[in-house]
């Protein structure tokens, strides 16, 4: 029945078109199938990238469509690299990336190691631990804002209960000293499960016979951990660090929801500065140059890191 329908369709196809389709090579067919994706990628990824590179050399402003666009050469780049506020934003970003990665890796790996013990109910606890990661950053940002609220927030009351400091004095989001840590805590709470999951995959990929051989050689648990577990899980840990590093370098939503970059500019990470320049101050050329600098920085660092990762894997 199906064959008959196909035959009917083939017969109904006009001859010139049928000839064209029948005459298409395998390579041609492959191109035919992937060309929509390539065109889409070119339109939404590659073209905007080149367009942003072009704009970064101009004084273009998206809110002044009638203004003459002047070529500024490298002036935007010079201005950014000489801008004190930009360097402060980069330092804030580096501080945020460093501490979140450190905490997430240490806690994530520890949790993975514990879960890997396969104790009673470990599957249930794995699911519970994964819950924060499944939430939307917008939801997480909003409810942590309430948790941090000094007058009604649960977090302030817990701190107050433990330390005896009045809850109204625990101003996590208003204090210059505490606000960066408030964001680091939330990001760690949300994304540690992700690191844990990757580390768990690494730990489960270590063949059991290696541990058995180590047992035969009377290696202590400590020795097994340092000589087997950690080296063999290292590529996975490094992969998790890479993913979280790239994600946190461009962190925007959580910071925007929790502090908006404040108090003052204390938590103004690079992506917040970029958004302000691009869509609030409308300095499109300038912000394009900043975006390109950030892109090159992330791309360069990621490349160096991937090379290191490959070396570790080859060992």
């Amino acid at each position: 029945m199906l064959n008959r329908t196909a035959d009917n369709v083939a017969r109904a196809t006009p001859e010139p078109l049928a000839k064209k389709i029948r005459g298409i090579s395998d390579k041609g067919l492959a191109w035919l199938f992937i060309s929509p994706t390539i065109l889409l990628l070119l339109a939404i990824n590659i073209f905007p990238l080149f367009w942003a590179i072009y704009l970064s050399f101009t004084n273009y402003r998206a809110n002044r469509p009638n203004e003459v666009v002047k070529n500024l050469g490298l002036a935007n780049y010079q201005r950014i690299l000489g801008d004190h506020d930009i360097w402060i934003a980069m330092q804030t970003t580096a501080h945020f990336v460093f501490w979140t990665i450190l905490l997430q890796t240490v806690i994530g790996f520890t949790l993975a190691w514990l879960i890997d013990r396969k104790f009673r109910g470990h599957a249930f606890w794995t699911t519970i631990i994964l819950v924060p990661m499944m939430l939307s950053p917008a939801v997480v940002g909003n409810f942590w804002r309430f948790l941090y609220e000094p007058q009604i927030g649960l977090f302030s009351y817990v701190i107050s209960f433990v330390t005896g400091i009045p809850p109204t004095n625990v101003q996590m989001l208003s204090s210059v000293e505490l606000a960066p840590w408030a964001i680091i805590i939330v990001d760690t709470w949300m994304w540690t499960p992700y690191v844990m999951l990757i580390c768990l995959a690494g730990l489960r990929s270590i063949p059991e016979y290696i541990y058995e051989a180590a047992e035969v050689d009377r290696a202590s648990n400590w020795r097994q951990f340092w000589s087997i577990t950690l080296p063999m899980a290292l590529p996975f840990i490094m992969l998790a660090v890479l993913f979280r590093g790239i994600e946190n370098f461009k962190m925007f939503d959580m910071v925007n929801l929790l502090t908006g970059g404040g108090p003052g500019s204390t938590t103004e990470v690079a992506s917040i500065t970029l958004k302000r320049q691009a869509f609030e101050s409308w300095r499109t050329g300038y912000s394009s140059a900043f975006a390109i600098i950030l892109f090159v920085a992330v791309f360069g660092l990621a490349n160096i890191y991937v090379k290191a990762l490959n070396k570790v894997k080859q060992r």
Partner: protein, 443 residues
């Protein structure tokens, strides 16, 4: 069977035709864009009369304040056709006029005999004119607004508090007339127990993301002697923006923030202020007048419990207030400009403006606000009138956005984060603003 088929076809055709007719009717609908807030609801109610009179339907696109500028400036910059009418912020007027986003209304006003002399002068300058103080009109003053203060009249009138206050400060506890008095009252109430609850002095603007802290700080700075530029030499800011008086004003704002605001007030704007006042946390509350009708009706803090006062005087007796509010404009990319102009004509009508005020909107028409019955029409009417007489506004230049971003950063860094001194903040502001005007080729 045939007849059933005919019936089905007939019904389908009728349905198609009715849909088409309704689509034709909807095609004439006007879309009005504004912020999502109480006055917008009043405007929806008011606009039903316009639809009744003209048959033109009204649709509304309201966006929360925090996204209002981003959303609609993007729409205008991309020459979008979403909005036929827009109630745009006062500071947008320069950019919207110079970039051709708004239809110039001079000829229309002349033809329809709509005179700008019939409107409160400050609102005409603030919402309609570009360049400022020239008869070039791009909007009809739609919603008068100004920063003022509310206070807990019920707390202020408690005999035991009055007695204690008088003993401490030597004057009667009442709505303040100077900023020094305001700070004393705020200090008096800070962390005081009232009805078993800890209360605080004042809620002020500290928001970082959009325009909050600039509106709040400027509201104080004007009365301390801040000026945007040399009145004799435009764009000359050195010695005006960062004058000694301005420095004192900014120091005062920081002192008020440090001593007398509720905990966690580092990012507060209109909504947070209303929440603080409504929940009985603060004795005084800085906010735009549009919040007053809602607070007056509030069961817990409204009615007899609330009082209103004009922005207090500075140390030299100067008294100004930050202008808010907006004008209504016809978007030049709209295909329905004729209908949109009909709406403007209807909205400018005296009776419509009177109803606008009665519904909770703030009319800018002289015949409404100068009516002898106006001051007693609402408990806050007199404070609104007095405030509108002393307004000043932020830059309305086409580059208002980078100018605003600079002040947001400088003020927040100093007032909330405590970085540097007031002098540093204002010197930095002069530097930033100079850069913006140099980029614009104006300096």
């Amino acid at each position: 069977m045939k007849s059933t088929l005919k019936l089905a076809l007939g019904l389908a055709s009728a349905m198609f035709a009715s849909t088409a007719v309704s689509n034709v009717a909807h095609a004439e609908d006007l879309t009005l864009c504004w912020a999502a807030w109480d006055p917008a609801n009043a405007l929806v109610e008011l606009s039903k009369d316009f639809t009744k009179e003209t048959g033109i339907g009204m649709k509304f696109e309201f966006v929360p304040w925090t996204n209002y500028a981003d959303r609609f400036l993007n729409e205008l910059n991309s020459h979008g056709k979403l909005c036929d009418l827009i109630i745009g912020d006062s500071q947008w007027i320069g950019g919207a006029a110079e970039n051709g986003h708004y239809v110039k209304l001079n000829d229309f006003f002349d033809k329809e005999k709509i005179s700008m002399d019939d409107f409160v002068p400050a609102t005409v300058v603030g919402y309609s004119e570009w360049p400022k103080n020239t008869p070039n009109y791009w909007a009809l003053p739609a919603m008068g607004d100004v920063v003022g203060w509310t206070y807990r009249k019920d707390w202020f009138s408690r005999p035991e508090l009055q007695k204690e206050f008088k003993e401490k400060y030597g004057w009667d506890l009442a709505a303040p007339t100077t900023f020094d008095q305001l700070k004393q009252i705020a200090e008096f109430f800070q962390k005081r127990q009232i009805d078993g609850k800890t209360v605080y002095g004042a809620s002020i603007y500290t928001e970082r993301g959009s325009e909050g802290i600039t509106m709040g700080a400027m509201d104080v700075l004007y009365s301390y002697g801040f000026q945007y530029e040399n009145p004799k030499k435009p764009y000359e800011m050195e010695g005006f923006v960062n004058s000694e008086k301005s420095v004192k004003g900014l120091e005062f704002y920081k002192a008020l923030y440090d001593c007398c605001t509720p905990p966690g007030s580092s990012n507060a704007y209109m909504g947070e202020g209303v929440d603080a006042f409504k929940s009985g946390q603060v004795a005084m509350h800085m906010n735009f007048a549009f919040t007053w009708p809602g607070l007056q009706k509030d069961e817990n803090v409204g009615g007899d419990k609330i009082g209103y006062f004009v922005n207090p005087k500075g140390p030299d007796g100067d008294q100004f207030a930050q202008l808010g509010g907006q004008g209504i404009s016809v978007v030049s990319y709209s295909d329905k400009q004729e209908s949109a102009l009909k709406y403007i004509k209807w909205f400018a009508n005296k009776d419509v403006q009177a109803k606008w005020w009665s519904l909770g909107g703030y009319s800018c028409l002289n015949s409404v606000v100068k009516d002898p019955k106006f001051p007693s029409s609402q408990p806050y009417a007199q404070a609104f009138l007095d405030s509108m007489a002393i307004v000043k506004d932020f830059w309305a230049e086409p580059s208002y956005a980078p100018l605003l971003q600079a002040s947001q950063k400088r003020f927040h860094d100093y007032v909330v984060a405590g970085q540097g001194s007031a002098k540093d903040a204002l010197d930095g502001l002069v530097k930033d603003w100079t850069q913006v005007f140099q980029d614009d080729g104006k300096m």
